[in-house]
Every structure is written in C-alpha cells, then in structure tokens.
C-alpha cells in the first residue's frame, strides 16, 4: 500500500501549512497584545513547559492511558460478545436496543460520581468502569448492526446451500461485521481517552492527566496546564492512530470501512 511521494506531499501540505500558520498567529498575538500567561500562554511557553515536565507528563499520561486502554479492551470484548447474543436472541435485542439508544443520549459520565462511592477512594476502578461502559455501548451498537445488516442476496445464497444458522453466522455475518467493528474502534479509541480524563474531574486519585490539568489551572500555571493538555491530545491521537493502523493491518485487500458500498 505504498503511495508515490508526490501524492503523500499533496495530502500533507494543507494540514501542515494550516498548523504552522495557526501556531505563528497564536505566538504573535500573545507577543503583540502582551498577553499574560494566566490569560493565554504562548506556544513557545507551552512547549518549554512540556519539555521541562516531560517525565511528569509521561507518568500522568500512563495513568490516564492505562485507564483508557483497559476500558477500551474490556468494553470492546464485552460489546462484541453481547452483540453475538443480540444477533442470536431477538428478545434480548429488543430489550437492549432502546436502552442503548437512550443511554447514548445522556451524559453518562456523571455516573462516575456514583461509582466513586461504590469503590475505595484510591481505586482506579471507577474510571475504568466508566470507560468500559462508554466503549461497550459504542461497540455494541455498531457490531450488532454489522451482524444484522447483511446483503439479502448473501442470505438467499446461504439458504440455497441449506446452511445452518451457525454457518451463516461464521461465514457471512461475522466477516460482514468486521468493518463495523473498526468503525466502532475509531470512535471508541479517542472516546476512551476523553472519558478517562472526564472521569478524573469527580474526585478520587489525582494521578492522571485530567487532574493534573485541573491542578495546574487552579494554581494559575496555565502554561504548565497546557503542556499537560498537549500530552492529553497526543494520547488521544495515539489511540486513534492505533485504531486506524489496526484496521489497515487486518482488512484484507486494503479496503477500508468507508470504501465499502
């Protein structure tokens, strides 16, 4: 899947140019209006803080990142397992899907306040549980759809083979659902990181990126806070790129989910 260098350049130059232009604008605005750091730190100051605190940022990122990763893995596993159950048992599907739709509409992360109560004060489990829940519903909705929405021609074909339901599941529904799983992962990966942060706002242990950002803001060290924000964005980006890379590696013939009819 190699692209000619000219085409890679074509794809990359607009975002690079936009990014550099934005940073320059930001830097000059701070200098020109003599903005104080508590109002808006300059990119150069943020970068300085980032380099100075790199080890601390890395530590905090590991905590939040671990929460996000565990929630992502467990949530995906449970979501996939449950979607098989939903495909098999119609009643279960009818029960779960209105609930999934409703929960999709609510700010579900507020449940962390409830979870914090149910576990000990130093536990990371409430955050991991929260991420698991968020990821679970994203994966469930998408994979269940992938198992369900199979081309009618394929189903007729399998019926003409007198194939059992299990064979249809194995040979048609599951391969059909794989692109849906990747669509879900590309949404769930950054969502897991964001949920991990947001879960840290409700108290509990203060080791993650979210709480560090809050901490730095509360002592008006905005440049440091934004250094942690940079770390947070990098973490989210890493998760998203990992999901994209996984899709590229596991999709046969290099056709992405968005390219299918």
């Amino acid at each position: 899947m190699s692209r000619p260098p000219s085409s890679v350049f074509r794809v990359l130059w607009p975002p690079v140019v936009f990014g550099i232009a934005f940073l320059l604008l930001w830097e000059t605005a701070v200098k020109a209006f003599d903005l104080k750091p508590y109002f808006l730190p300059a990119p150069s100051q943020v970068w300085q803080q980032f380099r100075d605190n790199l080890d601390l940022i890395w530590e905090a990122a590991s905590v939040s990142g671990a929460n996000a990763l565990i929630g992502l893995l467990v949530g995906t596993a449970l979501g996939v397992a449950m979607s098989f159950a939903l495909a098999r048992y119609r009643l279960l599907n009818d029960l779960m899907s209105p609930l999934a739709v409703a929960l999709n509409a609510v700010p579900i992360f507020v449940l962390v306040a409830v979870f914090n109560n149910m576990f000990s004060i130093t536990s990371e489990v409430p955050r991991r549980l929260m991420v698991t829940l968020v990821v679970y519903f994203i994966v469930l909705v998408n994979v269940a759809r992938g198992l369900r929405e199979v081309s009618p021609t394929h189903l007729e074909l399998m019926r003409s083979y007198a194939a059992s339901e299990a064979a249809v599941l194995r040979k048609v529904r599951v391969p059909n659902a794989v692109p849906y799983l990747f669509t879900a992962l590309k949404i769930a990966a950054p969502a897991s990181v964001i949920t991990a942060f947001v879960s840290e706002y409700f108290g509990g242990s203060q080791n993650g990126l979210g709480s560090r950002i809050v901490g730095n803001i509360s002592i008006s060290d905005n440049a440091a806070a934004w250094a942690y924000v940079l770390g947070a964005c990098l973490l989210g980006l890493t998760f998203y790129l990992a999901a994209v890379a996984l899709e590229g590696a596991l999709t046969p013939g290099g056709k992405r989910a968005e390219d299918r009819a």
């Binding site: 009818d94 899907s97 409830v114 947001v198 409700f202 947070a232 989210g236």
Partner: protein, 293 residues
C-alpha cells in the same frame, strides 16, 4: 400505519422493562454481593454492596419527595428539576451556536477542498482537548470582553463550551452530506448554469439533510455533555452538573441524594435528543424513511 405505532409502543415497553431489569440486577447484587467490596482474581473489582455505597432503588426514588436539606420545605425533585432546566437552556444555546458554527465550517470545507484537507485534522484533534482546560480560558476571555454595554455573563462560558463539543458532529456530518450529492444531479445543475451558491441551497443542502439528522442528534448530546462538564469545571452554580458534584460530596451521609441529580441529568440528555428526533419526524414526513436502530 398501525404497524409503526404498535412497534413504537412495544419499544417503549421494552425500554421500561429494561430499566426494571437493571434495577433488579442492582438489588440482586446488593443482596448477594460483598458488603465491603470484594476481589476477583486478586483485583478489587467488586463494588461495595452496603446501603451507604449502593442505596436501594426505592430509596433513590423516595428521596425525590424529601427536601434538599433538613429544615427546608421544597422537595428535592423541585431543586433538581430547576437545575436541569437551567442546564437545559444553556445546552440549547450551546447547541444553536455549535450548529451554526458547524454548518459554516462544513460549507467552507465543501467549497474549498484545500480548507477541508487543512482544517479537518485539527477539528478532529480539537475534540481531544479536555474541556477542563478550555473552561478557564473561555471564562477569562469572556471577562475581558466588553462590546458596548454587553457584559459577558458567566453562564455564556458554559454554553460556549457546549457549542465547542456540538460543532464537531455537525461539521463532520454536514460535510459528508454536502459532498455526497450524486454526480448526475450536479451535472444537471451545471447544465442550468447554476452558481455554486444556488447549487448549495437547491441541491446540496436538501440532499445533505439525511446526514445532518444523526449529526444533530450527536450534537444535542454533546452540548449537554459540554455544559455539564463546564458547570463542573467553572463552578457555575444553578445547573445540574454543580448539583451532582455537591451531592456526591455528601454521599457518605446521604447516599441517595446524588442519584436524584444523576437521573435529572439523564432526563436532560434525553429531552434534548428527543427534541431533535421530533423535529426530524416532522420535517421528514414526506420523505421515504430508511430504517435505523
């Protein structure tokens, strides 16, 4: 269309039933689970099942009738609904602002491919920036903003943060819709020597509506999330986010209290999304409907 109505009623029933089952599982765990938390393969995975950590479902419900603090008269349900109403109005403003910004960006990106290629990655990244960092920025900027007689009210910061989360799904969904017009229709408009603006309003936008509806649903939820997080991080009083934090602090003394606010926040989200769904039903009455979840 009795079939459709019957299906909808059944879905509502199923939803109620599923809530009942969740409550059942909750109580079952309370009955069977370890009172002080437990371990699964040496990990402290099991939550505490005692009454202070996990109040009974009926305790949560009956709490609504009791007042917020001892000595006051108004039952907490009023307090909590008022908070939800406060946050609802903020979310509405945020939703409106976010939708406008999202639409504008989508049109810009659809018009100039260069803008799409350059800007879209940053729009994606912007959503990974924790709101907790943006909130103080918005508040301090707002504090400095004086346009004539206009003073930036504190609640507007929360609405702006709601808009920040809402604009993204609108921008992405609308962009997808605007760029997925069938080529044959575009050629038709070309043959009428229509300008890009005319094509936009007469063809691209109407064709994009089926893509915009799910995007607006996401934006509704996002605006609620943004507002609630903003309330928590800016300490804005009056909304349901603040209530959740406050009540969570009293959880050891009054365990059921925080649930009243949590359910109100859930209700808020559902009402917000429900409004979008309702608008969709009204607007799309005459179009062939595609089945969705």
């Amino acid at each position: 269309m009795s079939g459709g109505l019957g299906r909808r009623i059944r879905r509502v029933w199923m939803f109620v039933l599923s809530l009942f089952l969740v409550a059942l599982v909750w109580e079952l765990y309370k009955w069977l689970g370890p009172q002080d938390g437990g371990t699964v393969f040496e990990w402290k995975l099991l939550p505490r099942a005692n009454d202070r950590a996990m109040p009974h479902v009926w305790e949560m419900l009956s709490r609504y009738a009791e007042p917020e603090r001892r000595g006051f008269d108004t039952p907490i349900i009023v307090v909590v609904l008022q908070g939800a109403w406060f946050s609802f109005r903020l979310a509405l403003v945020g939703f409106a602002m976010g939708t406008l910004v999202g639409l504008g960006l989508a049109i810009l990106m659809a018009r100039f491919k260069v803008v799409e290629r350059g800007l879209l990655p940053y729009l994606v990244i912007s959503q990974t920036v924790p709101l907790i960092a943006l909130a103080p920025l918005v508040v301090s900027w707002g504090g400095k903003l004086h346009i004539g007689e206009f003073e930036w009210p504190r609640w507007l910061s929360a609405a702006v943060l709601g808009a920040f989360l809402a604009f993204f799904p609108v921008a992405v969904g609308t962009l997808k819709g605007l760029t997925s017009t069938p080529p044959a229709s575009l050629e038709l408009m070309d043959s009428y020597a229509a300008s890009w603006r005319q094509t936009l309003f007469k063809l691209r936008f109407p064709a994009a509506v089926p893509f915009m509806i799910p995007a607006l649903r996401l934006a509704a939820t996002a605006s609620v999330i943004g507002v609630v997080v903003a309330e928590i991080s800016t300490g804005l009083a009056g909304g349901v986010g603040r209530l959740i934090i406050e009540y969570a602090r009293e959880a050891t003394a009054d365990p059921a209290k925080v649930y009243t606010a949590v359910f109100a926040a859930a209700l808020l989200g559902m009402v917000m999304t429900g409004m979008v769904v309702l608008t969709d039903l009204v607007l799309m009455r005459n179009r062939p409907r595609e089945t969705s979840t």
